[in-house]
Structures are given as C-alpha cells and as structure tokens.
C-alpha cells in the first residue's frame, strides 16, 4: 500500500470556526510556522460554522458583564459545565468579537446610532447575541476563509482524516492518516502539534440539522486513542426541524426559533394546539420542553402525514410572516411549502453535541501535542448549550489552540516518529469494506437513525436504552459484514458513506452508554424513569472511554471552581 | 466522449445577455463597415462622377438593404451604448431591463422609419 508522507509544524483537522481561527492565530503567533489544514470538504465550505443563523454571544453591551454571561452559561448547562472552560469562553468572547470585527472584517448588525446590535436569545438574562441578519455564520466563515487564503497555509481540501497516529516512543502525537477523497491516495502528515476540530455533529438521528460532512469522525478517532469523552449523553434537539418526508435532505433542517417566539402555533395531527397541555408558556417554552412535548404527541400517534406536527403562522397575517421571516419562508417555498399562509410539518431535530473530548483551558488533551477545540471538545456547555455559545466556543478555543500549538512548536526541534503499527491498523480499517460486495449502506444508515431516534433520542428510559445498545451492537456487526464493492478509492462516496457510518455507530454506542449511567434528567438528557434533576451540589459528569476494545463509563464529580450551586457571581458583583 | 457539458448554454437566455450580444455584434459590424463607408465618401475627391456612379449603385435594392442594415446597426449600437452608459456611469440598476427593452425598441423603430422613408 503506497503512502504519501509529508511533514508540517501544525496540522489542523477541520476548517470550521475552530480550525480556521486556530490557523490564523498560530500564524500570528509565529509567522514562520508551516501550517497545514486537512478538511473533508472545501476550505471553509463545510461544517456548521457556516450554518450559524442566530448569532454569537458576547458580553459587550453596556450593562452586560462577563459574569452574567458566565452565570447564564452555567445555569443553562445545569451546573455540569467545566467552570474554567465556561469562564474562559465568556471572557475571551469579548476580545474575539472585536478581533472578528476589527481585524478580520466581519460586520455584525448595528443599531441605528451605529453601535453594535445585541439581540435576545432564549435562556439568557440579557440581550447579548451579535449577529448578521439570520445568516451570521456565512459572514464569520467567509471572513475567516478569505484571511486563511491569504496566509499561504497548506490546504489539503477534500482530505478525510482517518485516524490520529501516536508517536512510536509513546511521547505524544505524531500526526494523522488521511485519504485524498479525489484520488483515493493515502497520506500521512507528520506534525509537531495536531488540532482536532471536526465539529462533532449528531447526524446519527433520523432528524438532524448539521451539515452532511459531519459524522463524528473526530470523536471516534479520539475514542480509539483511548481519550476520555465527557457528557456524551448530551444531545441538543431543536424543536422545529422541517419535515418533508424521508426522500429529501431538506428533512431535519432547522426552522428558526423565532417562529415560536413571534407567536407561531404548533398543531398536532388532529389540528389542536397542544403545547398548553405541557407547559404554561406554551409554544414559548424552552427548546428541550417543546422538543419533548412534540415527541410525546408523536408517540401518542397524534401526528401529521409524515409523522410530525404542524407549525402554523398564518394567523399572524401571511404578509407579516413573509416580511419578518423572509429567509425561512423562502426556504420552505423552495421545497414546496407555504410557511406564511399554510401549514408546515415540523419535528424535533438533533442539532448540537455538547459531549466531547476532555480538555483544559489551553485545549490540551491527555496526549501531548494533541489539541481539541470547537464542538469536538467537551465540558464548555455541560447539559445544554445556550444558543449563541456554539460559534463563540469554536472561535474562542480555536484561537487559543492556535496560540498554544505555535508556542509548543517553537520549543520542539522536530515531530515525533509515528507508530507504524497504528498506521497499518488504520489503513486496514479504512480498507475494511472493500472486496465485500455492497449492500446498500444507505439502508443501514436509515436503520441507525431510526434506532437512535426511537431509543436514544429525545426521551429515554432504561429499557429503551438497553434495546438501543443491543441494536447498535447488531448494526455494528452488520456494517462490518457490509462492503463497498471492489477497491475503487477515487471520489468513492459510497465508501465514504461506509466510513461515516462506522464513526456514527461507534459514537452512538458511546452516547447510549453515557445515557445509561446518567440516572437523572438534566438539560438535554431526559430519563422518563428518572424525571427529576439530581442534587446540584453533588453533580457529576459522565466519562466514557475505550479500554481494550470495550467501553467503560464512569461518573466524575463536577468541580465548582468558580461558583457553587446556590451562589451567583452577579449578586456578588 | 465529448467535452460539451452545456448544450446550447441556456444560461445565456436572459434579456441582458442578448442586449450585450446585440451591442457587441453591432459594434464589430460597424467597425468593419465604417471603413467602406468612408472609402465611398472618399471617392468624392476623384470628382462627382465617381461618387454619383457609386451612389447610383446604391439604388440597387440589395445595397439599400445593406444601408438599412447599417442604419439599424448604428441605432442598435447607439441605444445599447446609452443603456450601458446609464448603467455604469449613473448606476442605474432596476432600470436595466427596461433600458434593454427600450434600446431594442428604439432601434427597431428607427430602422422601420428608415425603411419607410427609403423605399
């Protein structure tokens, strides 16, 4: 098996907010560094940072404070977040937004007097979300991308990273193995420091919002390296994903929160408003409550033709709706629905993944030289992520990782040699499906998505989780018996689908394991058999890791390093 | 095997593209025709007879048609050119389509007028 080998100082995996910000900061810290970005799609054109609609949380508004942002984050995360991570997030977001505006050229919406506009976002005690209309992500990623283009970094576009390779001498990381999607050639890039920034992404659910290139590859790689993954049961569902039937990729894509905020109604299959039966705030209840309520209606069989519920806006006046939610109305119209005047089917949809690799505030992991930032990192959000903290997380920590990696490289004479046996093992693993005749990988994925949706989804209990674990095991075995036909590696999307599915199955197993051991309901994790939120003072977070091919799950106590339950930084201030 | 990916390139089928094409073709044809036109007039140096002889030749319907064509070209190019100048120098935008239509219409009207008068 021929393997291209090359060397770089810093290898960045992924070109979302975290990856690109890391590249920029590394280059600023040390312009002579050789920086390589390997990314599954085209530079800056894949991943979810592009897809950010709502905006970016930052305590820049007069009267707001980092303390307040921090308290909202901790409360939203149900006291599970790593407080040092959350604090660094809130504190650094201030500089980061100024950097985005002043140095990189993002332009966020202004008030009529020219000052930065901050909008309200659910779950926060202050209007602190800066945004560019409802297409904030496009502005952020485009500006990052064009700055990265001028850096002269080495972009390995359409290079899928297959595995992280440790050093032969056990001293840390050595680099990453990848495949050039276009040619099918394998390549090992040796590096002094590696950043994992593949952006998590819970795309193993029947309904999901993230971009299609995100399939938990990064977390699966980290798991294989034996790293601790935390909060893996924490999957955030957005209550209103578009439901357009199983045959279209449009299904699952997000219909914005504001529809409910503005007074939109949710109607079940019998045409009744049902939210009042679950929560006095009705449609304006929080994301998790609305998601569970819709899910309950669906379980009770009161569904629309495609198996969801309806969102109805027309009572607000179609013209008004068309004006206020232009983007959403157009998006629905493009796939054949009339949001302004008719009914549109919606369903809760998996949106964000709070779980991830255990890191410190310098983005370091347990393996020297390996850094993790963005949605791949765990601990920042705890049990729930505030809308607007996701892109803040990826750009804040991407930047930090870039600086720390640059500093590390400057003290290192050369990169460590790789453990060749791991390279061999990863190559064999990637080529696994070749030679076996192919069943339809898509069918397996459909089954995975159904399993996860039904048994490890919005509402969980011990029985369902047990069933979920069993079907995931069976699915895993079936996948290993399924092939991708003869070995044709150049732009073979069917092979990549297989690889995607393997990452998804593995991380699904971790999610299910973590969900099994968390026997209380918190934030995004809801156990019907343990509906109460446990004692906050003794809060723990879950950690799963792989030991000798087996998953081990445990609880670690939350350290209240800054504030304890019952206290608040705001009163103190 | 063929490299042709878009047969007939329908992406061009929009008003402003045709406006562009008409403008360009008329410009090129004008540039080709104008030297001859000048040449003809230049005959005047050699005495009225040559010119008259030549002008008599223009009584030929075919030549008349060509003259009409020239007139049309000039009209088309003029109208298209004014449209472009408005667009680029005055930053007219939503007007574009109207201007294109106007240009074509004016050119056609001019040509018809000329035809009517000439024959």
């Amino acid at each position: 098996m021929h393997l291209h080998r090359s060397e770089t100082d810093i290898l960045i995996i992924g070109s979302g907010g975290a990856g690109l910000m890391a590249a920029l900061h590394a280059a600023q810290s040390c312009p002579t560094l050789d920086i390589t970005v390997a990314v599954k799609g085209l530079l800056g054109k894949c991943g979810c940072t592009r897809m950010v609609q709502g905006g970016y949380n930052v305590a820049l508004s007069p009267g707001d404070s980092v303390e307040r942002h921090f308290m909202d984050t901790i409360n939203g995360g149900k006291w599970i977040p790593n407080q040092d991570l959350a604090w660094t997030l809130c504190e650094t977001a201030v500089t980061r937004v100024r950097e985005l505006e002043n140095e990189l050229g993002c332009f966020f919406d202004r008030n009529p007097d020219g000052s930065l506009h901050h909008k309200a976002f659910a779950g926060q005690t202050f209007d602190r979300t800066v945004h560019k209309g409802d297409l904030t992500g496009i502005e952020i990623i485009s500006r990052l991308m064009e700055q990265a283009l001028t850096l002269g970094l080495k972009a390995l576009e359409e290079h899928r990273v297959l595995g992280l390779i440790p050093a032969a001498d056990g001293s840390g990381i050595s680099g990453a193995l990848m495949v050039d999607v276009r040619t099918g050639d394998f390549r090992f890039v040796k590096a002094k420091a590696v950043l994992l920034a593949t952006g998590g992404g819970p795309t193993m659910y029947r309904y999901h919002t993230p971009s299609g290139d995100k399939t938990m590859d990064g977390l699966a790689m980290a798991l294989r390296l034996g790293l601790d993954l935390r909060d893996m049961e924490m999957v955030q569902f957005h209550p209103t994903g578009l439901l357009a039937g199983p045959d279209t990729r449009m299904t699952g894509t997000v219909l914005e929160e504001g529809l409910r905020g503005a007074g939109g109604h949710l109607l079940n299959g019998e045409g009744e408003r049902f939210m009042e039966n679950y929560d006095p705030k009705a449609e304006r209840a929080t994301r998790d409550v609305v998601s569970r309520s819709i899910f309950s209606e669906m379980r009770a069989g009161r569904t629309t033709p495609n198996g969801g519920v309806h969102v109805s806006m027309s009572h607000l006046g179609p013209e008004h709706v068309r004006k206020t939610f232009k983007g959403m109305v157009e998006r629905c119209r493009d796939c054949g629905f009339d949001l302004a005047g008719g009914l549109v089917e919606v369903v809760p949809t998996a949106h964000y993944f709070m779980g991830g690799v255990v890191v410190d505030t310098d983005c370091r992991t347990a393996i020297p030289g390996l850094f993790v930032a963005g949605e791949d990192a765990g601990g920042v959000h705890g049990a729930n992520r505030l809308g607007g903290n996701g892109v803040a997380n990826s750009t804040v920590y991407g930047g930090i990782a870039g600086e720390r990696m640059a500093a590390l490289c400057e003290t290192m004479p050369f990169a460590a040699d790789p453990d060749e046996t791991v390279i061999e093992a990863e190559l064999a693993r990637a080529r696994e499906p070749f030679g076996r005749s192919g069943a339809n990988v898509g069918d397996l994925r459909d089954r995975l998505m159904d399993n996860m949706w039904d048994d490890v989804g919005v509402m969980r209990d011990a029985d369902r989780l047990a069933r979920g674990v069993a079907s995931l095991d069976a699915l895993g075995e079936e996948l290993m018996a399924t092939g991708a036909g003869p070995e044709k590696r150049a732009f073979n999307l069917t092979w990549h689908d297989w690889l995607n599915l393997r990452s998804l199955v593995e991380i699904s197993q971790v999610i299910a394991r973590a969900a099994q051991i968390r026997e209380d309901s918190r934030g995004a994790h809801y156990r019907e058999d343990f509906p109460e939120t446990g004692d906050l003072e003794t809060s723990t977070f879950t950690v799963v890791r792989e030991v000798d091919g087996k998953l081990e799950a445990r609880h670690d106590p939350v350290v209240f390093s800054i504030v304890s339950p019952g206290e608040s930084l705001i009163e103190a201030a | 095997m063929s490299m042709v990916r878009t047969v007939g390139a329908p992406h061009r089928r929009q008003v402003l593209w045709w406006a562009f094409l008409m403008h360009r073709v008329s410009g090129v044809l004008l540039a080709l025709f104008l030297p001859f036109h000048f040449l003809v007039l230049g005959f005047a140096i050699k005495g009225d007879a040559t010119l008259d002889g030549f002008l008599a030749w223009t009584e030929n319907p075919l030549v008349k048609l060509a003259e009409t064509g020239l007139f049309l070209l000039l009209a088309v190019h003029l109208a298209g050119g004014l449209r472009l100048l408005a667009l680029e120098l005055l930053a007219w935008r939503s007007w574009q389509k109207n201007m294109a239509a106007l240009a074509a219409g004016a050119a056609l009207a001019g040509a018809l007028l000329f035809l009517g008068v000439a024959w």
Binding site: - | A31, L34, F38, L39, G42, L74, G110, F114
Partner: protein, 111 residues
C-alpha cells in the same frame, strides 16, 4: 500603473461613446432628411462643402470613432479570438488609425 492604464482606456472608450452619441443622432436625422428624394453627390456636397460646422462635426466623429472602435475591437479580439498582448494592441491601434485616416480622407473629400 497597469490599473491606471486600463482605467484610462476604459474611460476613453466611454468618453468617445458619449461624444459620438449626439453626433450619431444628428447624422441619422440628417440622413433621413437627405434620403427623402434620393441621394445625390451635389446634394451631399452642397450641404457640406466649405462648411466649418460640418467639418468639425464629422472630424470629431471620425476621431472618436477611431479610438472607440479600436478599443472595442481590442476587447472583442481578446475574448473571441484569444488575441491579446502587445501585438494585439498594436494591431487594433493600426485599425483605429486606418479608420481615422480613411475618415479624414472622406471628410476632406466632402467638405
């Protein structure tokens, strides 16, 4: 520098267009009037001979047309014939010059 040259060439093309616009309109109207009753050499010459106004009118037109057409052809040659660079520039300049010379000869003849 390059940018300035292109900007000036662009401006020259648009400027000559602006100059020609009224001239062409004027010319077209004259033709329509002239054509009624058929063209004749006397007619043309009696109208134009020794008339300083028409001399300036057509002189200006010829000058502008030469510059304008040369610049226009430069663009078309580059795009449709792939003919670019110094040789192309000199060629279209020559065409423009020829146009101007022929034009002046014609103007000289009828004035």
């Amino acid at each position: 520098m390059n940018a300035r040259r292109e900007a000036y060439l662009y401006a020259a093309q648009r400027l000559t267009a602006l100059i020609m616009a009224p001239l062409v309109i004027g010319h077209l109207i004259t033709i329509i009037i002239a054509i009624q009753g058929g063209l004749s050499a006397e007619e043309i010459l009696s109208r134009t001979s020794g008339n300083i106004f028409w001399a300036a009118f057509y002189g200006l037109f010829v000058l502008a047309a030469g510059i304008h057409a040369a610049l226009g052809l430069r663009m078309v040659a580059a795009e449709w014939l792939g003919f670019r660079g110094p040789l192309a520039n000199w060629t279209v300049a020559a065409v423009g010059l020829l146009l101007i010379l022929l034009g002046f000869r014609a103007v000289g003849a009828v004035i």
